[in-house]
Symmetry: C2
Subunit: 462 residues, 2 copies
């Protein structure tokens, strides 16, 4: 067997123990909040049928789906193509040699799941799902070919209470993770539709929001110049000006919008829904989240049909750390029409970077073993084994470094693993039955009996 270089595919990552505990801290925290709000976990297979995924993410998306080669003699099925003398191009060959592909997001598999299991699902169905997805994107800093998504969706309920609870979930989960200053931006697809109706340019709603978004940077003149360049007329600008300059509290913004959009049915519907949502939110006390109506939010506009969310931290410069919204007819692609749904997503990789930068990972998270027992020889080891057993019976995470290693190596092991306590057992300790317990952080060393040891560390484990 020839030696192979130890390497992994570009855009993929190994997660070492230190990183894993931090990632689990994030996922566990979010999971706990999802569950508290009645969301239940599901998992779907890594591989989906290729035709389940194809055509759902646009042409570019189709290119970025990782396809799996059929197993066995996959070229057998291409025989007829070969015999006809046809050119074996990548495109022609693909449906012949590949039937499966890697999950590209969690949304399409969820839609497929809902349709496939519709008769066993309790409606409204509130599910969360935390699993990796794969995209053949060009890898770059912060963009990976394998990354986790962390989604909660509800289908079968059009109540805006769901949207209000998504705001609460963001607030609670991000607060539990230690964030203290973040904004949940909210927009509504129907308000944007109303604005587009106002000026009769429904196709250009994204141009409009992109330009408005620059108000802080380039001022009203700049925004208007840009809008003119993008094909809006002077008459459009007169109508749009109150929207471009929209500011103040959420209530003030809504008042302005009600006036401006008074003739748009869509606009009024959107405003009414946002008001209902804000009304629900008044019954819930948010811990740290600011909620802000932001018309420049045009996220996933082709997809969302109601409220749209995006979450940003104000403590670190970073893109959005979460987002979502309401969509209609998600399951239509699998033949089940008319099902409404809403969902949110946490950007776990970005949240990781934020917590790292703000130093918000609890110290205990990186602690693995509570105590390491160090011995000098076989006799000490035999003396130590029942002590090791007692510690574990008391539910204390404990290790014994097998005899034969120098003390320096054993201490380095404790340090590297962030083990907070070390017990040293030499001949003196065996005779006196008083063990040396060292606090690795303070350096303090005391003598304790086995009973005292178990009691002390047991208390600290809680």
């Amino acid at each position: 067997m020839a030696n192979v270089k130890a390497a992994i595919p570009k855009g993929t990552r190994d997660f070492n123990p230190q990183v894993m505990v931090k990632r689990n801290h994030i996922f566990d925290t979010i999971k706990k909040v999802f569950k508290k709000y009645g969301y239940q976990e599901i998992q779907t297979p890594t591989m989906e049928n290729l035709d389940t995924l194809t055509g759902k993410y646009g042409d570019e998306g189709d290119q970025l789906i990782f396809k799996i080669l059929n197993s066995g003699d996959y070229m057998l099925k291409a025989e007829s193509l070969k015999q006809k003398g046809e050119e074996l191009s990548s495109k022609k060959l693909l449906p012949i040699i590949s039937e499966k592909a890697l999950r590209y997001d969690l949304t399409v598999p969820f839609a497929r799941y809902v349709v496939m299991h519709q008769h066993e699902i309790t409606s409204p169905f509130k599910r969360f799902q935390i699993q990796p997805v794969w995209r053949a994107d060009r890898p770059q800093k912060g963009r990976y070919r394998e990354f986790y998504q962390c989604d909660a969706d509800v289908v079968g309920s059009d109540s805006l209470l769901n949207e209000a609870e998504f705001v609460c979930i963001y607030d609670e989960a991000l607060s539990k993770l230690g964030l203290r200053d973040f904004t949940i931006k909210i927009n509504h697809r129907k308000i944007l539709t109303g604005i587009a109706e106002l000026i009769g340019k429904p196709q250009q709603i994204v141009d409009l929001t992109v330009a408005i978004d620059k108000l802080d940077k380039i001022g009203l003149d700049g925004v208007e110049r840009e809008l003119l360049e993008r094909g809006f007329t002077a008459a459009d600008l007169d109508v749009l000006r109150p929207i471009i300059l929209l500011s103040g509290s959420n209530e003030e913004k809504l008042q302005t919008l009600e006036r401006v959009l008074q003739n748009s049915e869509s606009g009024q519907k959107g405003i009414a829904e946002i008001k209902t949502l804000f009304g629900y939110l008044a019954s819930f006390t948010l811990e740290n989240a600011k909620v802000e109506l932001d018309l420049t939010l045009a996220r996933g506009l082709n997809y969302y049909t109601g409220c749209i969310f995006e979450v940003k931290t104000n403590e670190v410069a970073m893109g959005s750390i979460g987002g979502g919204g309401r969509y209609d007819n998600l399951t239509g692609m699998f033949g089940k029409e008319g099902l409404t749904g809403a969902g949110i997503s946490f950007g776990a990789d970005r949240i990781y970077d934020v917590l790292e930068e703000l130093n918000l990972f609890p110290a205990a998270v990186s602690e693995s073993t509570k105590v390491l027992i160090c011995v000098f020889g076989e006799e000490e080891q035999n003396f130590a084994l029942p002590i090791l057993s007692r510690l574990r019976k008391a539910d204390i995470s404990a290790e014994l470094f097998p005899f034969g290693a120098k003390m320096k190596k054993q201490m380095a092991y404790a340090n590297d693993k962030n083990i907070p306590f070390v017990v040293i057992i030499g001949s003196e300790e065996m005779q006196s039955k008083q063990l040396s317990l060292k606090n690795m952080e303070s350096g303090e060393q005391v003598k304790v009996s086995v009973e005292e040891l178990v009691e002390r560390l047991g208390v600290m484990s809680n």
Copy 2:
């Protein structure tokens, strides 16, 4: 967009909420025990370079690896083959159109990880890993193309304390899961080598163990007949007879082996190691596991170099629910020679089936939400929202069924989700501020204030 049938690839599974909580119960329990013994979690990418995996699992294994098609115009690289007019066979095309593959087990990626990260690893390195693997096996009952492995391995320590701790880990994890009668079978590669030396037939050691394994079924005559058929001589049988008939306690078996294998250096080494292991185990109190020296255990013989483990439950007819052993030079395939390691694996799918059959999943595991608030109209809903918020602030998992649904539907929802308590809020409850709290199991219904509700359910959550 054409409608596509909602289906998943054969041999893969969706896990619904009820199954997920049970699977998580198993994984969480095992994880907790791994950590208690100082094992730390890592994760490796789903995709490995194809050459990392190829040649590690034998020819048959290579066939069963799922390969990933290169992204982009993968046939471009085949141009030179085409121009030379070469036959585009599956075999010739493969290295051209595929560079990556799905993880086939957790062991090879672990070896790759150890070599790749050798300078950041603290030795001995104790890692656990719980991730799915993929095999293009023919799907059948209980055999899937995607399934989770659940492994703990230590590299860089030849101490038999590691093996002893593996026995403890099996004992503790399976006991925590509720199993009360299971056997950890132990064998040693060097004892088998010693037996093979004894009769000068090292190639036939597997034939031998397979035949011995049938003793209970076909008796000594049957075993001897089978051994003769398999090419052993009458002289061999005379030597082997005490081994075939090996019985009694572990101590008695070891005494017999010591006598029979007295001239085999390997055999003596293996016996000495098993004795050391049993010595260590005497210092640990096992809860439920029986430990049994079993020479018919030939699991992974080409792979293991020291102790070999296999775990069987005695409560249900089922194959092994775990196994492992010591191996040398695992990392040699990636250019790092001479590293010793040992590891064990839990068979999560089989453990799931065992717990299901023995009804050992705790009832609380299938509970999602603690309380559902049912309302009749919008006014009741508005009255209920602050109550919902208070319950959640008290860390009680709570849901409100959005107004507009019939009580029957709401009750069915609570039933389907195994929600143990329901609060009903109608006009009477709003006036009296005394809520109706219904215990869904007993049917008992009482009136409580909001304070009492929070207190009652809070106590029950702990």
